[in-house]
Amino acid sequence: MAEITIQNLVKTYPGQTERATDDVSLHVDDGEFMVLLGPSGCGKTTLLRMVAGLELPDAGSVHIGGRDVTYLPPNKRNLSMVFQSYAVFPHRRVRHNIGFGLAMAKVPKAEIEKKVAWAADLLQLGPYLDRYPAQLSGGQRQRVAVARAIVMDADVLLMDEPLSNLDALLRLGFRAELKRIVEQIGTTTLYVTHDQVEALSLGDRIAVMRTGQVAQLGRPIEVYDHPSDTFVGGFIGSPPMNFLDAMAHGGVDGGVDGGTITVGDAKLPAPGGLPDGPVRLGIRAEAISVVDAHTEGAVPAMVDVVEPLGAATLLTVRVGEQEVKVQVPPDVNVRNGQTVHLSLTPRAMRLYDAETGLGLDLR
C-alpha cells in the first residue's frame, strides 16, 4: 500500500493539439479511494494510464509510495488493475487468470493456490475456478477481473470504469460489493468513471475533471453540495443542478443578510457582499419545493413536463424563459400547463459568476 503523488502531469497525444491532461497535480493518501470523474475526453483515463505506466507523460512526475515511477514500465510498478473490458485472458482458466500476476512474479505455487482460493471465496467464484472465461457470464468475468486484481500485493489498485459494461441491475449490486471488498483490503485505489452516482457512492474523495484539468477535488458530499463551478454542478447529480440567470444586489458590505437576488419577478434573500450585477443562481432540484401562492418569496412557474419516477416526481417548469427541474414528493398533484409557485431553500442556493461560471459563495 502506498500514497500516489501526481505532479504537474502534462500529456498530449501524438497528432493532437489539445492536451489530454493539462498540468494535473493530485495527491492520493495511503489507503484512500479516489475517484476520477468526468465526461468522456476529460483526461481521466489518460491520467489513470499514466499512473499505470501504459502512457508516458510529456512533463511532470508520478510517485507511488515515494518512489519515482514516472517513466517506469508498468510491470515494474507493482500495480494491479481492473480494465473496462475486463481483459480476462480467454485462453486461461479462471484459476490461472486470478493467479496470473502472482505466477509472473514467480510466487510459489502453494501460496498462489491459497491466495486464489481466498479471492475466489471473496468474489463467490469458487465453483467456476476451472472454467474458461468464455463459459462465464459478463458479471462473472467481471468478478474474475476483480479477483485477479486483489490477489496481488499491489501498492495501488487501479480501476478503469470497471462497472460500465454491466447491465444496470448487476451494476447496482456489484457496486456495493466492490465497496465492501475495497474497504476490506484497504489498498490505495484510483477509480475512473463517468458515472457520477458511482463516484458519489464509492469515493472517499472525488476529483472532477474537465478538459484535462481537475475542476474540483473533495469529499463526495462537498462536491455535490458545493460545486466549485457551474460545470461540476451541471455534471454531478441526477437531475443536474439548475442554473438560473439572476441579478444580485449587494447591500451592505459584509452584512449577513444584506443582499438580495432577483429571479424573474421574485426577490430572494442572499448573502451580502456581492457585487451588483448578473449572477448565475445554482440550486438542486430537491432543494426546490412547490408551495402555495401566498408564500413569501415564492417564484411563479409554469409546468411543462411531469415525470413520475416512483420515489419522487420530477417536474420540468419554466420560470420566465428559463427551464428548471424540480423534484417533488410523489403525492404532489400537478398537471401540464398549470402554474405553480416554487420556494427555493436559501441554504441550498449557490451563486456563480455569470461569465466564468466560477463559484461566488461568500460565507
Binding site: P74, N75, K76, R77, N78, F89, M104, R148
Partner: protein
C-alpha cells in the same frame, strides 16, 4: 462465426450456389476422379504398374526426401521469421506502414519469379559471388548439383523470402483481432515482454498460427518452380517430378500417380487443418 443470417425461403440460396457446384464438380471433381483412375487403371484394367514405375524411379525417392526435408527445415524457420516480423511491426516503429508494404510484396510474387530473382543472386556469375569476389573470398558454385547443401540452402532462402509474407499476413491479421487490453493487463500485472509473448500473445495467436501452418504445409508440398528456376532438375521435388513425367517423359499415368501422392498428403493435412480449427474455435471467446 455465424453472423446475422436469416432463415428465409430455401430455394434462392440453392439457385445461387448451383452454378458454382456444377462448375467445381466439372473442373475440380471430375479431374480428381479421372486422375485417380489414370494412376491406377491402364489399358488392361486396374494395375499397380504405374505406382511400381514411380517407386522404382530413384528420382522419385530423392524428390520425396527433398520435399520433406524442405518442409521440415523451412517451416520452423519461416514461422520464427514471420513472428519476429509481426512483433516488430506490432511495436509500431516509425514507418511501419512502409515496412509492412515492403515485407508483403513477395505475397504476390509467383514461385517462378521468386526462383529467378534468387537465381540472379546464387548463379555462378551472380551477385552473391560478385560480393565474395570483391571481398577477395573467391566464388562458390552454389547451385551445382555437386553442392547439395548449398543448393538446398539456396532454395530454402528463396522460399523463406517468397512465402514468409503469407504467414506474416495471417499472423498480423490474427493480431489485429486481439484487443491490446490483454497485453496491457499482463504488463500491469508484472509480466515482462518475454513473459507476455509466452503467456499472452502466442496462446492467443494459436488459431492463426495453426491456420498458417496447415496452409503453408499444403503449399510447401507443391514447391516446384523455385527449385526448377534455381536448379533445373538437379534438386528434384515431388511436383517437379510430375511435370517431368508429363512433359519430358510423356507418361501421364506415372505423372498422375505422383500427383496422387501429393494429393494424399495434402488431404491428410487438410483434414487435420479442419479438425484443429474446429477444436480451437471452441476456446476463443
Amino acid at each position: 462465426m455465424a453472423r446475422a443470417r436469416r432463415t428465409r425461403a430455401v430455394p434462392p440460396a440453392y439457385l445461387l450456389i448451383a452454378p458454382s457446384v456444377v462448375f467445381m464438380a466439372l473442373l475440380l471433381g471430375w479431374p480428381m476422379v479421372s486422375g485417380i483412375l489414370q494412376a491406377f487403371v491402364g489399358p488392361d484394367g486396374v494395375t499397380g504398374a504405374y505406382l511400381q514405375r514411380m517407386n522404382s524411379d530413384p528420382a522419385f525417392w530423392s524428390a520425396v526426401r527433398n520435399t520433406l526435408l524442405l518442409i521440415v527445415v523451412l517451416l520452423p524457420l519461416q514461422f520464427l521469421f514471420a513472428l519476429v516480423m509481426a512483433f516488430l511491426l506490432q511495436a509500431r516503429p516509425k514507418g511501419h506502414a512502409l515496412y509492412f508494404y515492403l515485407w508483403a510484396i513477395p505475397l504476390a510474387v509467383s514461385d517462378l519469379a521468386a526462383g529467378l530473382v534468387w537465381l540472379s543472386i546464387f548463379t555462378d556469375r551472380g551477385y552473391l559471388n560478385s560480393v565474395l569476389e570483391t571481398l577477395g573470398l573467391g566464388s562458390v558454385s552454389w547451385l551445382s548439383y555437386e553442392n547439395y547443401g548449398s543448393m538446398f540452402v539456396a532454395i530454402l532462402i528463396a522460399e523463406l523470402w517468397r512465402a514468409t509474407s503469407l504467414v506474416l499476413v495471417i499472423v498480423i491479421s490474427g493480431m489485429q483481432g486481439i484487443p491490446k487490453d490483454y497485453d496491457e493487463a499482463a504488463n500491469v500485472f508484472g509480466a515482462s515482454y518475454l513473459q507476455r509473448l509466452r503467456h499472452v500473445w502466442l496462446p492467443l495467436l494459436k488459431p492463426s498460427l495453426q491456420v498458417a501452418l496447415i496452409l503453408r504445409t499444403i503449399l510447401a508440398f507443391q514447391t516446384f518452380a523455385v527449385a526448377q528456376a534455381l536448379t533445373g532438375q538437379d534438386f528434384p521435388v515431388l511436383v517437379g517430378e510430375t511435370y517431368r513425367w508429363y512433359t519430358a517423359l510423356q507418361n501421364p499415368h506415372v505423372a498422375s500417380a505422383i500427383a496422387m501422392v501429393v494429393m494424399a498428403v495434402s488431404m491428410v493435412t487438410a483434414v487435420i487443418y479442419l479438425k484443429t480449427l474446429r477444436d480451437s474455435t471452441k476456446g476463443a471467446s
